[in-house]
């Protein structure tokens, strides 16, 4: 009984596979695969990719947002069903190409070039997909951008070298617009400096197959060029109106008409405070919660050091101070910028470009040569 059951299952599976193989190599099979790929891609664009789970629940509600995240629609292009469909496409292309090759060999004469072009573009698509597989298996890309500043080193394990940032900065045009971000780096291999290069946007450093790509430049997270304060003088007659003053970083500035001076001692782009160690530090390199430490002196005598935050008064209850200080704004320091790199190795890229070049040539032969594609009008039926 079991034997009969197994035999029936094998026959059914064989019939299904035969039908599936026929479908895969058919034009309608190709159309449905392309439709499914387009639909999934559209879903990927509309839903938004690689967002945190909260973003999906916020956007689509708890139930639907949870489903979107759990079934992988938030990372659809690496999901098993998308990759599976791409694999089915590759098989379909190979089956289709085999048929085309057979036809090309058998049918000669008119339209040969166009047919050859069509075959080339189908094979090229498989090469492109193969390029993607090679990169996925043998390549890597750092999931998060890398932030480094002058003097810092980073070990690139995948390339077997260390990279040191000698200088990082921003160049400006005569109009004062950013014209270039640059990082002067040195590559160190086995303790020896092997090469130095300036990395700019569109001009990466590629060493041992690993590429270091310049992205944006963040302003320094620990220094500023100038701070704009709002000042209210506290006198016995009452508070003065608010005046604004620009104080350069690390320079003592005397408030006009007074003997009170301010000096910006520290800057933290994203201030955080450790209660246990009683120390202020950076929560991140982004300018999310900027704060400056300002020293207030009067008649040359030290009065106090205070942290001042954007939109909040530094020392609300500090009646000892001769003035109230508000942080209005500041000029970011790009000269001591934090350079942002992307790091990747994409070994499938040459294959991908060969595929693209072949596909482009194939398309031109198919559509731009005299051949079988006469563009006959369709039947009305």
């Amino acid at each position: 009984m079991t034997l009969w059951f197994l035999l029936a299952a094998v026959v059914l599976a064989a019939a299904f596979l035969k039908g599936f193989r026929k479908w895969l190599s058919s034009m309608s099979g190709a159309v449905w695969i392309l439709v499914a790929l387009a639909a999934m891609s559209l879903l990927g664009v509309m839903i938004g990719q690689n967002l945190p789970p909260e973003a999906y629940t916020e956007r689509y509600g708890d139930a639907l947002g949870g489903i979107v995240y759990r079934v992988g629609l938030g990372d659809i292009f690496t999901s098993w069903y998308f990759l599976g469909l791409a694999a089915v496409l590759a098989v379909s292309l190979l089956a289709c190409s085999a048929g085309r090759l057979w036809k090309l060999a058998r049918v000669g004469g008119h339209g040969r070039l166009s047919r050859a072009g069509s075959l080339l573009l189908h094979v090229a698509l498989v090469v492109i997909l193969a390029g993607g597989v090679v990169t996925a298996v043998f390549g890597f890309r750092y999931p998060a951008p890398i932030y480094l500043w002058e003097g810092q080193e980073m070990v690139v394990t995948e390339g077997g070298f260390t990279v040191r940032v000698d200088a990082a900065g921003t160049e400006y045009s005569s109009e004062g617009v950013v014209s270039e971000y640059y990082s002067d780096v040195t590559v160190i291999e086995n303790g020896e400096e092997v090469r130095s290069q300036r990395i700019e946007v569109n001009h990466p450093l590629v060493h041992n197959g690993v590429g270091l790509y310049q992205h944006e430049m963040l302003p320094s997270a620990t220094s500023v060029r100038e701070v704009l304060f709002g000042i209210v003088m506290v006198t016995e007659e009452g508070d003065s109106p608010v005046t604004s003053v620009a104080v350069p970083f690390h320079e003592e500035y005397t408030l006009p008409g007074t003997d009170v001076s301010l000096e910006v001692l520290e800057f933290l782009a994203d201030f955080t405070y450790d209660i246990q160690t009683r120390t202020a530090s950076l929560a991140s390199l982004r300018h999310r919660n900027p704060a400056v430490k300002v020293r207030v002196s009067e008649a040359g005598e030290f009065v106090a050091d205070r942290w001042v935050f954007a939109d909040t008064q530094a020392h609300r209850d500090d009646s000892n101070l001769p003035c109230r200080v508000f942080l209005f704004d500041y000029l970011p320091d790009f000269d001591k910028g934090i350079t942002r790199f992307e790091l990747s190795r994409q070994p499938g890229t040459p294959l991908l470009f060969i595929g693209f070049a072949a596909m482009s040539l194939g398309l031109m032969l198919t559509f731009w040569t005299r051949g079988t594609r006469k563009g006959d009008p369709l039947d009305e039926s």
Binding site: A38, L42, Q346, T366
Partner: protein, 262 residues
Amino acid sequence: MALFWAAFWCYLAATLGAAVYTGTRSSGVRFVVFVVTLAGFAVNTAALVARSFASGHPPVTNLFEYLSFFAWAIVLGFLFLWRRKGLELLTVFAPTVAFAMMVMASLFPSEASRQLIPALQSYWLWIHVSLAVLAEAAFAVAFVASLMCLMGDKRGHRKLPDRKLLDMVAYRSIGIGFPLFTVGALFAGAVWAQKAWGTPWSWDPKETSSLIVWLIYAIYLHVRRTRAGSIALTSGLSVLGFLMTVFTILGSRFLGGLHSYG
């Protein structure tokens, strides 16, 4: 900007002329539409050239410039068909599509900076974007032809051009646009992305939308080859392809991603 607005008003006037032609079918009106469209095209050309000289880079660095260039390329595409017999009504709508693009362009900031942002400082900008614009202009021609196909009934609407002819125009236009789009938008884009971002493909919204455009036209070509699809189906796909093209152009504005330059 004066030249842009001059082209804008020319295309608007020609669009109104096209409406009059649709009702009257007067060859005199069509000639006037042709002259005004040509004037608009000349001024549009001058606007793009002047902007290129003023800014020192090709006029493809923001949506205002892109859409102005797109309008220019669409008119160029239609001008090739202007003398083709049986397509009088199709070609007369060239300025209408161009005008729609100029209206969209006028909604975006038009400031030209001599200094390109670092990411756009590459010769690939010119190759990638200009080929994509030319391809999309070919898709626009196919779009109008396919739309007319859909508007006519099966027996052929008396007032519309012959459906088979329109279908042929759509097919030929896609046959020009599809390879150009593959080379310009996808291939050149991938080469540039590898140099700039360290990966030829990032599944960025604009990249993915371009892939969808490519897939829709690939479906169109396969469906048309099988002959199983009717003209209505292929025309529908051609219209869908162009709508997706417009979404791709404007999408980065609200979807964000690596291509959101302005």
